[in-house]
Subunit: 193 residues, 2 copies
DNA sequence: TCTCCTAGACCGACCGGTCTATTCAGAATA
DNA sequence: TATTCTGAATAGACCGGTCGGTCTAGGAGA
């Protein structure tokens, strides 16, 4: 049952962390929600911070699933693959109740005081942009983007703007800002291809 | 001294809130930093939440100063006025140690559980976009933007993307994402004017 | 004196984390 | 196969510290 218990803590912890953020999530509340006793929690995790970092890892597993599903889809043009990834993310946000992106939320909450988390989240962003940049480079080679376009910078822009739209979507509990942002970005990026 | 005490709490509270966020900011720490006794705090503020909401009001006063300084500058073209506002904001972030925008940080941290804050922050964003939209409408009329451009939507896009860049800037303690985002946005917005 | 504000001791609740006892599946031994 | 052994996992009482908030007393200006 050990694996199940840990998995359950991570899974329920993921949704609670998304809603409450880090500091507003009490261990006790998590244990009550899962029915897991405290001893088990501290058997599997060294501390609350360790736990949260592992939740982020789990979150990133899902992100990578989305990246793979979208960016490896050979039936789409490279640029459409990139857009597809964010549309998949939008659907995930919808399932979670329009709470936006956990990386953005934890990044904002913790990066002012906790360098470990700041590095962790920035590293996650950097990994995602790397994949997207590869995809955009392919788009550039196929003429979907201007020949002098910088895929790495374009990928960072895309992700950053997405995170801003995700914040607004969280505030409004409405996915509309996400779509508006994608429309604007892809129209702008392709205009002078 | 009453006014001074309250002002001091708001001012020091502003910088501490920016760095720590809401839940990680203890009343006690604020009182130690200001030398104000607890009784005074609860004389001026009904609760921690009330205090934080007033800090946001104070933050918005500064935002409005920036809006006025930039958007009323008749020596600039309308579109340059809008850009100027964000450049002023960027300079403010720099002074604060590249911690980004307090609205974005509090919005991310609290909007999952606290509807009062969610509404408050969303309202702040909405007020800012309204001013920017007016400015963009002027730009449209002067031919700096396409005749069929939607100033309200463009203003929301601009602010949302800015907030995303501000998050990344906070993570990296580096203003570069802010400038990249402005370059991209204004190039895109003006291209088909 | 009356009102506003300062002053800080004090409160119960809750926080993250520790500790010890117990359970239990499976390896080891015969 | 029956028994013992062992370590991982469960279980929750318990800890000191800190949290936001209350209360009462004192001081200052009208």
């Amino acid at each position: 049952m050990a694996l199940n218990t840990k998995e359950q803590l991570l899974e329920v912890g993921l949704s609670m962390l998304l809603k409450h953020g880090y500091n507003d999530l009490g261990i006790q509340a998590l244990l009550e929600a899962t029915g897991v006793p405290k001893g088990s929690f501290y058997h599997h995790f060294g501390s609350k911070e360790d736990f949260a970092l592992q939740v982020v890892d789990r979150y990133m597993q899902e992100v990578h699933q989305g990246l793979e599903a979208a960016l490896q889809d050979q039936t789409l043009q490279p640029l459409d693959r990139a857009r597809r990834f964010f549309e998949l993310s939008r659907e995930k946000y919808r399932q979670d109740g329009h709470l936006g992106c956990m990386l953005g939320a934890l990044g904002q909450e913790l990066s002012g005081v906790n360098p470990t988390f700041a590095r962790k989240i920035e590293n996650c962003f950097s990994v995602v942009t790397r994949h997207i940049a590869e995809c955009l480079e392919e788009a550039r080679q196929q003429g979907q983007l201007a020949p002098d376009a910088d895929p790495v910078e374009l990928a960072n822009l895309l992700l950053n703007c997405w995170e801003g739209a995700a914040l607004r979507s969280r505030l409004l509990r409405d996915p509309a800002p996400l779509d508006r942002m994608l429309d604007f970005y892809f129209a702008a990026a392709t205009r002078d291809a």
